[in-house]
Every structure is written in structure tokens, then in C-alpha cells.
Amino acid sequence: MPAPHSRRLREALLAYALILPSFVVFGIFIFFPFAKNIEIPFYETRGGIGFGQNKTGGTRTWVGFDRWRDVLGSDEFRDTLWVTVKFTVLTVPTGIALGLLLAVLAHQRLRGITIYRTIFSSTVATSAAVASVIFFSLIGPQSGVFKLRIDGIPLLEHPTWALPAVAVVTTWQSLGLAFIVMSSGLQALPDEVLEAAEIDGASARRRFFRVTLPLMSPTLFFAFVVGSIAAFKTFAEIDLLTPGGGTGNNTRVLAYAVYDAGFRTPNGEVRAAVLAVGLFTCVLILTLLQLRLERRVHYVA
């Protein structure tokens, strides 16, 4: 029967036609730069006219994996990755715990509870930049209202305490989202299971740890992975609160290192390209982890 066949073909063509505009946009702004980013470190370019790697003319020499090995094997990359991991550990569990605490507090049938819910979720409306400006005006070394110092060193310039300070800002800024995610997770829990636990004699504390928390595990896992991905990509707070990546590079996270190499270091573009792929790989691993493990933490009631 030719009719259904040609109709299917027409539908397929129409589908491709409709997809084409976004494909073009993605291709130009995402796929092409991404492929280029991976290609750059494999070549060395000499001579020619222009800036950085975008030179025309000149010679391109295949250098294989040398650049990759140099950059990813360097102490600098290792230190940067370590700072990033520390920053993630400082921000993500704290954010989830505080978001869950606020969600539990707001999950009461009390008069005026919506006011608290609005306040708790309000930081969703702030960007990392806004949060940084607010906190910089509070604790900035020169202009801050409080000018906090530890061992006589301004907090944000302190080799040890600058990273936790930035982590506080990030946690505060992401708390609104954490609260909303945890609240919706709580609201999705079956009331009857919690009531059954109440009748079965479980105290409020026991209900929380033995029933609520395990049932929340899909939400917690989701928040953990998404939070980690966001933490790995943190840039604005680092740049605004500790310009230059902090004293002794102690707040130099991976995303900041990419920016620093690409835009602030002469001839650092190749290093930036390698670091960017390193950052991408970390985020990819986290994403795959989520996709793989997500099903395991889901309970079918």
C-alpha cells in the first residue's frame, strides 16, 4: 500500500523541517564550538594572522595527546579539582539539609504558613551575582559592613576560610530552590503511610528518620546530583567575592580556572579548552550517575 508509506515519509520530512531551526542554532552555538574545543588541543598553530587559535594562515601541527597530558596531569588541575570537590562537599549536603529542615517546618497546617513558605523560597529570585553583591557589601574586606577577620586577615582573603565563606553565600542563594524541591518532595509523600506510622506507634522523630527520610530518597538523590552539577559549574560567586581565585588560589574552582586560562592568561586558550573538557567530563559523570542510579532509589508504593 503506497498511501500509508508516502504519508509516513511526508510526516518524517515535516518533522525534520520543524526541527531544523533549533538544530541550526544548536549546531552553530553548541555542537560546533564543542567539537572545535576538543580539536584545538590536538594541534599547535604557528604564524598566521589573528588572535589565539583563530589565526588564519600559518601552520598547524598535530601534537597528539601531549597537551591533554600536560594540562590534566598538572598539579594545577589537580588542585583546582580538589577545590571544586571541597566546594561541592561544603555546599551540597548543607543546602539539602537546610532545605529539608525548612520544608519540614513549613509542612505544617498553621495559620499564615504561606508567608513563611514565600520567605523560605524567596532566594530563588536572586541570582548568584545578586547574592554575591549582597554578601560582599556585608563582609567585603574593604567596603563590608562587618569586615570579618580571622587571624587578622579579612575573611574573603583568608587562605582557609575564604572557600567556606563563598560556600555560605552559594548555600544561601540556592536555599530557595532546595526548599521548593524538598517541599514538593514532602507533599508527594503518601499521607496514609505517615498516618499508619503514627498509629503504629512511631514518635515524630522515628517517623521522620524511619519513614519520611527513606521515602524522600528519590528527591534527596535528585537534589544531590543536580546540586553537585551546579556546584561544579560555580563561577560567579568565586569571581565576584574572591577575584583572582582567592589567596593562594584557594577558591580557584574548575569553572574559574577555565575562565582564567581562556580570558586572563596570554596564550592560555589551549589550556582553557582542555580544562573545559575536564569540567564537562566531571558533569557528564555526575549526570550518568544520576541516570543509572535513579531507578534504584525509587519505591513503587
Binding site: 496514609e192 499508619a196 503514627e198 498509629i199
Partner: protein
């Protein structure tokens, strides 16, 4: 001991009274069914007994102890939910064990009690499974096991069979009654299914709009409904009702007259609503000389259910009466004029304003 008593219990949500001045006394070991359409307040009543909701007014007692304001865990009751409300992250064993763990029952005793409950409900081979690996019927049994493991003073059950398929429901119904009789534990069972109510309950409490309509044995609820609501709610098809009038010791329906039972007691004169169960309507041909004249009606249509037939007849005043006949009975053709006869003892009379049974005082 497991006597449960509600005295003038009311629950208001804002201005709406979900339960309105309900008084119930449930004896130790009794199986009481709370029956009614959705929104009648039966679940709210159960939740108040459980302690999940507090009454606005009135007193609830369990075991001769006033439990208003007492936490659910301290009321010595167990509850089975419609959704079963199993803990999805725990195995069957841990689910059944949960109420024992919260009460710090010693480990060996815990194991003994869980094994006992599991054996009772045929769950011994499933103890290491998670709820997601069980069928609906098995989950339902786990919920029951979790309720019986602690030997509480009373079981509260909120439509526990409604998530099962029809066949399994019938089977589980019988098993549940047998289990309750064996354990002898007071059971309060909420359902909207009149068949469950009739087959399971020692007594049935029928609720409507938060008010208790009738509290009686299944037989009495069917044979002597307290009002028009109960008459219409119990029975499939429900009781036939039609406009009538009481005059000089007889019942007039349009131009026809029906005899009343000899011992009918005092009845008010004037308009009323009469009722008769479909199986109590006998069909005769028009003009048949009959001691009782019967009601003249036209056959509208009839339905065959295999084991019986329902003949829909229209009275002169346009009220419809359904006669329930045996499958083998001769059935008049649609459009035929027939005489419907009703034995005096099978008539039910209700006040046409309040809907209350008129001969409620009579035996």
C-alpha cells in the same frame, strides 16, 4: 476488652459538619460496619476513633477510657487503610514488625509474633519481599498482618477491599470475617459497598451527610429501613417507593387500594410514601378477581439478569415499580396492563415530609 463508644460526636470542618452528633456503642468483639455514600462522614468518624482527627464535640471512649486528645499510638488500635499504606522501603517482615519495634518489643518475641501473624495470613514465604514485589491481594494481607500482630483492642478498617478486583474481593471478604471471628477483636469497618456491609457486619451503621440514619443488624436494615434514604440505599435494585395516602385503615394509590397489615399500630391519616421490595411485588393479569385489588400498571420494559428478571412497571401516577421475578417466570409483554399485588406485611410506610418510617414504634 475492646468496647468502643462514641457519644454525641461531631466534627466540623469550617461550617460543614462532616460528622454530626453521632452516638455509637460498639460491643467488645463486635464487627460494626460504617456504611454510606462518599462524603457521608464514615471515614472521618473512623479517623476520629483512630486519633488522626479530633472531634469538635462529643466523647470517644475505647476500653472504657476517654481517648479525646490522646495520641493514636496510645489508643491501642490498629488501622488498615484503603491504599494499605505499607512502608515501601521495608520488607514484608519489617512492615509487620514495625508496630512492635516502636513499642520496643524484645527481639525474640518480635520474631515469634511476626511469624504467627504471617502464618495466619499465609505470608510466611513472602517475608523477605518488598511491597512492590507483591500483588494487590498480598499487600492487603500484609496490611492486615501489621494490624493483627500487636493484638490491639480494636481494628479500624477504611475500605480495605476496594482496591482488589471483584473476585478477590469476595474471597477476601469471607476470609476477613473468619479472621475477625477467630481473633474476636472489635472491628470497625468503613465501606460504601452495601454487599460488604450486609455480609460482614454484626451490625451496620448507615450514615448520610454526617448523621446516623440507622444502626441495626443487616437483616433489620433491609427488612425495616428506618427511613427513605436507608430504604433506597440498601438493596439492588433498591426498594420501590411511590406516593400514596392513608385513609380509613387502608392505603390508597390513585384509584387503587392496598390492604395494610392487621397489626399496623397507630398511623397518621393522609399523604405518605409507600415502599415495597422488588421481590415482594407479584404480577397478575389485569381484571383478575383478587381479594386484594392490587395496583394497576403498565409494563414499560424488562431486563434479564440471567438468574432473575426485573420488570419495570409504570403506575397511573407515573411512579415506576420494579418487580423481581424468577428467570423462569412468565413475563408479560412490554405495554401490557398488569395488576401488581403486594402482601400487607411487605409494605413499608414513610412520612412524605421527613422520610421517616411511620410504623417505627410497631414491632
Amino acid at each position: 476488652m475492646g468496647r468502643v463508644a462514641l457519644t454525641h460526636v461531631t466534627k466540623r470542618f469550617g461550617k460543614v459538619a462532616a460528622v454530626d452528633d453521632v452516638t455509637l456503642d460498639i460491643a467488645d468483639g463486635e464487627f460494626l460496619v460504617l456504611l454510606g455514600p462518599s462524603g457521608c462522614g464514615k471515614s472521618t468518624a473512623l479517623r476520629m476513633i483512630a486519633g488522626l482527627d479530633e472531634p469538635t464535640d462529643g466523647v470517644i471512649e475505647i476500653n472504657e477510657r476517654r481517648v479525646n486528645g490522646i495520641e493514636p499510638k496510645d489508643r491501642d488500635i490498629a488501622m488498615v487503610f484503603q491504599s494499605y499504606a505499607l512502608y515501601p522501603h521495608l520488607t514484608v517482615r519489617k512492615n509487620i514488625e514495625f508496630p512492635l519495634r516502636t513499642r520496643d518489643v524484645e527481639r525474640r518475641e518480635r520474631k515469634r509474633l511476626v511469624d504467627e501473624a504471617a502464618t495466619t495470613l499465609g505470608l510466611s514465604d513472602l517475608l523477605d519481599r518488598k511491597p512492590a514485589q507483591l500483588s494487590g491481594g498480598q499487600r492487603q494481607r500484609v496490611a492486615l498482618a501489621r494490624a493483627i500482630v500487636r493484638h490491639p483492642a480494636a481494628f479500624l478498617m477504611d475500605e480495605p477491599l476496594s482496591n482488589l478486583d471483584a473476585k478477590l474481593r469476595v474471597q477476601t471478604r469471607a476470609e476477613l470475617v473468619a479472621l475477625q471471628k477467630r481473633l474476636g477483636t472489635t472491628t470497625i469497618y468503613v465501606t460504601h459497598d452495601q454487599v460488604e456491609a450486609m455480609t460482614m457486619g454484626d451490625r451496620v451503621a448507615i450514615l448520610r451527610d454526617g448523621r446516623l440514619q440507622q444502626l441495626a443488624s443487616p437483616h433489620e436494615v433491609y427488612a425495616r429501613p428506618a427511613n427513605l434514604f436507608v430504604a433506597g440505599f440498601i438493596g439492588t435494585p433498591p426498594m420501590n417507593t411511590f406516593a400514596a395516602a392513608l385513609r380509613d385503615g387502608a392505603l390508597t394509590v390513585g384509584d387503587d387500594t392496598l390492604a395494610l397489615p392487621a397489626d399496623h399500630g397507630p398511623l397518621p391519616q393522609g399523604e405518605c410514601v409507600a415502599g415495597v421490595r422488588p421481590e415482594h411485588v407479584t404480577l397478575g393479569t389485569d381484571g383478575r378477581p383478587d381479594g386484594n385489588g392490587g395496583l394497576r400498571a403498565t409494563v414499560e420494559f424488562h431486563e434479564s439478569l440471567g438468574h432473575e428478571r426485573h420488570v419495570h412497571c409504570r403506575l397511573a401516577n407515573r411512579d415506576i415499580l420494579i418487580a423481581r421475578l424468577a428467570a423462569s417466570a412468565a413475563v408479560p409483554a412490554d405495554g401490557d396492563t398488569v395488576r401488581l399485588t403486594i402482601a400487607p406485611g411487605d409494605l413499608h410506610l414513610f412520612d412524605h415530609h421527613t422520610g421517616e418510617r411511620l410504623d417505627a414504634g410497631a414491632a
